[in-house]
Amino acid sequence: MDFIRCENMSHIYNSGQENQHEALKNINLTIKSGEFLTILGTNGSGKSTLAKHFNALLLPSEGKCLVDGMDTANVDDTWNIRQKIGMVFQNPDNQIIAAIVEDDVAFGPENIGMQPAVIKEQVYTALKAVNMKKFRKFSPSRLSGGQKQRIAIAGALAMNTKCLVLDEPTAMLDPQGRLEVMNTVKELNHQQGITVVNITHFMDEAALSDRVIVMEKGKIIKEGTPREIFADVKGMKKLGLDVPVAAEIAYRLRDKGVKLPKDIMTTEDLVKALCQ
């Protein structure tokens, strides 16, 4: 089932002014329910602008954005849309507002008028899902970056969100924190069927997803499975992007005349191909 659909969507910042800027140009994109999609692209390619359309933080200048059948331009549906789509941004410190972890997770559900008993259950389930149950009475200031990001994800889950839109959620984290967050996201996607849209500069994270789109200058210029995308090492570098280290090593070995399949992406792939 299509969960998010963009039809001929464009976005122009400061329309009609001197510094007018067309950040998205004629985007056509369908994201299926339960899919894990990665958006790649250099800074300024339009990734974040696109993501902000998914929960009506931005509205299309032209074209349409549909979420679960609802048009984001229809103001009556704004709050329904935002309940279905939870966003997590780069800086963990900018999105936590309460002094206690469980209060922070309860903030969303309270705002939409859930009953206290239900909220309690929602918060408990959400914290359990992100593996932060035992921190529920902690002050967020005592948590690591990775833990804070998982609290932010729990906040979305407590609203019964159907889709997580993550805008570089691991950019400020250390390797351990990155791993924690990505494992949580993967688990939510696999076990609860939560649709995931992840914007990242880390190619290893992109390798975890079902599908990758690559953006440049406001357009989608490539689309495919991670294996398809990362097989084109030269093309990705030319775009100012990168590929996972195993793919790069395989590419360079092929260059030296070693016979290796083109779609090597992970360490396991490489070990399997070289050690048989």
């Binding site: 800074n43 250390d174 390797p175 195993a246 090593i249 070693v258 050690c275």
Partner: protein, 290 residues
């Protein structure tokens, strides 16, 4: 010549319920003329440590010497001049830009040093050249209308224009896309090579550290866990220590190790992609696989 920390301990909010010792009995040397990288998980004490290098934090215990001068002596001109040798670029430095034009922002530091307008102008031009921002194109623009990578380069130029002997950068490439990241690292290395500036940088990315650093310091729980050349620190026999410190060894080192486990006899001493490819190729040849 170097920066030396002698038995430095720093305690935040001593004597309060929030008292916390962030670094404990740390003794290190930042050798002059080299690139030193500091890694460690969030909260391991890296940022506390580097704030000692320019006297922003004063040790609760211990001493910091810059070129043999104690930098924490009050009302002492020598101490003050020693502190000025050390330029600091914080995390996300673009958030600290504030002037109306790129030129004015970069000129702020040099002007505070009391230089003449001509000298300031020379320094701004030179600093912009170093971070690869064309003077005629960008000098009069607002820094807030540039891309993230460009804004960061403006912020770094502002520090370079103060001519520090030691340049300290806290996660200089965090949040940049691969191309901007590579470009900035290249510029930092060039600065080091051309002007002989000593570089200290914090990073979570072991690939960047492997490619850049002469010396690596890994911190865990406020203490130095590992210290040495990349070759010494990234030896896979110490991989467990690195994992315990919340970090990951360079991907190339992991891949070489896995290949060995998988049965391909390959030398595992490499930690950069170039060297790794060479070693794998050699191993394949010896095994008669190509």
């Amino acid at each position: 010549m170097s920066i030396i920390l002698q038995d430095v301990t720093y305690t935040y909010m001593p004597g309060t319920p929030f008292e916390r010792t962030a670094i404990e009995n740390v003794s290190i040397e930042i050798p002059s003329g080299k690139i030193t990288a500091i890694a460690g998980h969030t909260g391991s004490g890296k940022s506390t440590l580097i704030q000692h290098l320019s006297g922003l934090l004063k040790p609760s215990n211990g001493k910091v010497l810059v070129d043999d001068v104690d930098i924490n002596i009050k009302n002492n001109n020598e101490s003050k001049m020693a502190r000025r040798q050390v330029g600091m670029v914080f995390q996300y430095p673009e958030q600290q830009l504030f002037e109306e034009t790129v030129e004015a922002d970069i000129a702020f530091g040099p002007r505070n040093l009391g230089l003449t307008e001509e000298e300031i102008s020379v320094r701004v031009k030179e600093a912009m050249e170093f971070v690869n921002l064309d003077y005629d194109t960008y000098a009069k623009r607002s820094p807030f209308q540039l891309s993230g990578g460009q804004m960061r380069r403006v912020a770094i130029a502002g520090i370079i224009a103060m001519h520090p002997k030691y340049l300290v950068l806290d996660e200089p490439v965090a949040g940049l896309d691969p191309r901007s990241k590579e470009e900035l690292l290249k510029r930092i290395r060039k600065l080091h090579e051309k002007q002989g500036i000593t570089i200290v940088f914090i990073s979570h990315n072991m690939e960047d550290i492997a490619n850049m650093a002469d010396k690596v310091i890994i911190m865990n729980q406020g203490k130095i866990l590992l210290e040495g050349s990349p070759k010494e620190v990234f030896d896979m026999s110490q991989a467990d220590d690195i994992l315990l410190a919340g970090l990951l060894p360079p991907k190339t080192a992991i891949i070489l190790d896995e290949l060995n486990r998988g049965g391909l006899k390959v030398d595992t001493s490499a930690y950069t992609v170039e060297k790794g490819v060479e070693l794998i190729y050699q191993a394949l040849k010896e095994a008669g696989k190509c």
